[in-house]
Symmetry: C2
Subunit: 136 residues, 2 copies
């Protein structure tokens, strides 16, 4: 299951991408428009900013804005930031690899084999989908 954090994060990013100018948008605006708890959204936008996706401006007329062109933000980046590993098991994860405790031979493992296929496919989709693609 996709966490609400990721879901809300994507919605917020798309909201910012749909902005024609690059003017800052207030948290409260996004919160109302997308039906997201303001405080929760605050923490999500904060992690997006800390990880270089968003910039922010304080004081009157402040808010959050995208740092890059939506075309240059693939969903792999967004998903890894918000949701973590794309793979369903750590033993097929590229960025979060971990060996299974119970598995003696990874190459002979059916779960590994199956989930590798799923990961490859999902990764391909996330790689080829940018924030811009989702904003139309």
């Amino acid at each position: 299951m996709l966490s609400k954090k990721t879901k809300y994060g994507i919605k917020a990013l798309v909201h910012l991408a749909r902005q024609r100018d690059r003017m800052p948008v207030q948290i409260s605006t996004i919160s109302k428009s997308e039906n997201i708890s303001q405080k929760f959204l605050e923490s999500i936008l904060l992690t997006l900013r800390k990880n270089g996706l968003l910039g922010s401006k304080k004081g009157k007329g402040g808010g959050y804005y995208l740092l890059k062109d939506p075309n240059e933000i693939p969903m792999t980046t967004v998903m890894r930031l918000l949701e973590g590993p794309i793979a369903m098991v750590p033993c097929v994860s590229l960025n979060f690899y971990e060996k299974c405790a119970d598995c003696t031979d990874e190459d002979a493992c059916a779960v590994n084999k199956l989930m590798l296929k799923v990961r490859d496919n999902t990764l391909e989709i996330f790689r080829n989908t940018t924030l811009a693609d989702l904003s139309n």
Copy 2:
């Protein structure tokens, strides 16, 4: 993340599929061979039996066995049984559909759009992979 339940369930099913004859295999045998807690495995095999994938035999020489040919068991069946929905969000689920509370227009929702692609792809893999494919 894939739950341990699903992971163990797949491993157990593959173990049974690899059996050349259709003789019952004891829980304890699978448990040791696959490094799975016996009691936990018991409950997993029970749900697989209740849902028509496995048969069981009591008493000496008893155990669990596949009811169908591994070729005729697609992973969609296994995944839905053990893991539940294949989709990452309920609003794109075929068998477990639910409307999002926060979403006003599903067709305009970026999360919906993205996760629909992922689901279609993942589903295709699970449909085209049978237990037999994983057992070689």
